[in-house]
Amino acid sequence: MNKIVSAFSALAVTAMLAGAVEAADLVIYTSQPNEDAQATVDGFKAANPGLEVEWVRDGTPKIMAKLMAEIEAGNPVADILLIADTVTLERMKQAGQLMAYKSPEAQNFDAALYDAEGHYYSTKLITTGIMYNTQAGMKPTSWKDLIKAEAKGLVAMPSPLTSGAALIHAQTLTGVDSLGWDYYRSLKDNGAVASGGNGAVLKSVASGEKAYGMVVDYMPIREKAKGAPVEFVFPEEGVSAVTEPVAILSSTEHAEAAKKFIDYILSEEGQKVQLGLGYIPARNGLGVPEGFPARDQIKVLPVNAADALKTSEEDLKTFSDIFGTAG
């Protein structure tokens, strides 16, 4: 009986394990927060019934590290990357790790928002501005308000080692003449902390551990709608922006499903889902979510993608030297 029981349990368990990792038709690595990633995937599955989609969520630098470790081990699992910034994807394109695909939906997008050869496409506009807790003593209007004495020890910001948007943000602000790396040094002197991603900043400002935060726009605007005591401002100098691009990995074994995903997320329907989640869609003519100023009112600071790509390593090091962070 022992033999039968063990044989049976071995069989049952193998079946369960095999079932637990049933081959998905598409694997997506994304930096969208869990609920948004799920909504995106749900929308795609509704538009393409019968496709099994698996997704993994982490901050852009972390999910990239995971992917690179898998590529190193010769076993990359992802088919689609949907991450914060085009800089990372530009690097992957140059390394030959992305597949080119010309989506028919691209005609509805500004040409600056996608790669001409079709390696990646921007899906939305995410700006980084300032959020504050409504109990805070000051209503910040400028980036420089965060280095004032009123904000001493009360500022949180995401670490570029965790968040892709935070890296672009740092590269954008340090490119502004009146700010530069000195601005970040003053932030450190003023007791600002940099750790974790944008979610961590949202949490510490909304919960009152900190009063002010540098954070991506949609998080506080959405939480405010749910009743959280937070406000978001677009500082007068302007905001940095990332475009959450999507791309297909050249190692994919599910190219057809991956192309369908690109087409879906760029389609009017897919873009409306993002709008509904509180993002500014990248596609033309869809407007902005509730709580945002009109798109032409938002002043986006320029960043040179080619330069940003070249100096990424160095900028990360400068940042960690200032803030002494490891993650």
Partner: protein, 564 residues
Amino acid sequence: MRSSVRSGNSQPRWLFPFVVIVVLVLSVLPLARLAWTGIVSALRGDAGQLLADPALWSATLNTLATSFLGMIAAVILGGSFAVLLTLFDVRGRSALGFLFMLPMMIPPQVTALSWIGLTGPSSTLLKALGMAPPLGSPQPLYSIGGIALLFGVQHAPLVYLAMRAGLLALPKEGVEAARLSGASTVRVLLDIVLPLAMPGLVAGAAIAFVSGVGNFGIPAILGIPASIYTLPTLIYSKFASFGPTTFADISIISVLITLLAVAGLSVEARVLRGRDYRTIGLPGQAAVFRLGAVRLPAEMLLWLVTFIILVLPFLALLAGSLAPAYGVPLNLETATLHAYEEVILRQSVTRSAFTNSVSLALASAFGLLVISVLLGYYIVQTKSRTAATISALAEVPYALPGIVLAVAFILLLAAPLPILGFSVYGTIWIILIAYLSSFLAVSLKPVISAYRQFDPSLEEAARLSGAGFYRRMRDVLVPLIAPAAGSSIILVFLIACNELTVSALLWSAGTQTLGVAIYNLDDSGSFNLAAALSVLVVVMVVVLMLILELMARRLPAGALPWRR
């Protein structure tokens, strides 16, 4: 009668090779690979850059500080509970004992999340009570002291168990003799009980220290936001920013963690050396002292502590899971089950995490059952030096911090397997193999103690009557060890289901475990989802422990870790 030439022999021919292969794959190979990479990269000079990195040394210092302070907290908490519940006439001892054991089985990241919900300006619970600290107050737990405090709570049961075992073995005669000679209760405690309880206390303290060194969940949630890194979280962050020297770095840090753990254990051995605690007389019922007038206050204190370390954090977790958004005060109108809905019905991540953890836990529990029944049989029956070595080797992976084991398996299995040509890295199988290795000792222990409990003449009689190995297994051995085997299944299931440290390094798309899902949800800022999932996990743990508790009477002594 079914019999073959070898039917009367004690062991089938394949048993020894089987045992060797199991120990080789689950213990020797991964550890040898880790040591090898550590030594090679040290010799190649890769270590230079890492060893010159101040981050490594501050992490080492943080590890030592948190583990040491955590050990002290655990000794105070666990020691006083052990003494009061074992030696004094406190009412409701078994209920208190069971509740005090719970933190040990609750996943550390859940403990950390619930305590965060309890303190600081973010506390939904304090907000609901109108007692939250003002804006800008730092979260007090994001500190060395906070990490140490939670280590203390989490590891106090280990001290409690180790001390209780010693206290239960106290001979009644000694205490009675002292009493008859007119010694006061305090005198008896100091002169007779304390010296005899020392080995248990030291052993418990050592286990608490080593557990602190290897703990990942608590410093990950409390330390990383404040940039306080311990060695396990440093490995995690090195791994999360993968680079060309990552493998060399993490193998060296792993070796460092192992050295700290070994150092902790050898301090224990040193303290206990030269002390001989042989007692004369029967280790009767624990000597019961009367508390007299202070009984009620003592009982109230015990319940109060239990309330603070167990009920309050759970309430905070529950409050966090019901809040609609951060910073919104919780009351009947704002409370929502949205987080539960999202976690149970919508998030495919949490659903697949449930499936993965349950499948992994079942596979580990049943796989290890088969392995333990055979391995235990070999170890108990063969009284040779080889058997002793094999038994020791089987124990090693459990004694090592999970993060070290995970690193060892990554190094061993990252490259494609020889002959087969594919890699199990990034699949669920690498997690399963690491679980089998890590929990082998958990499963083996109850089975071995059950084998030792029954008279070998039973099996001999069956053998002399010509029963073959399978027949003896089926008709004699398995029925006798069944209760122990049952408890080992549930125990492994319980631990594997809540595991975080090993899977935090080994997970990939589609193979997230429950522990990883909770950690990642919190990391992405979805505290309410993380809290809801944690509440579900706590409920599951309590139910499983209650089932084991009900089975306890039929189990051999020592089968359940919290009822030694």
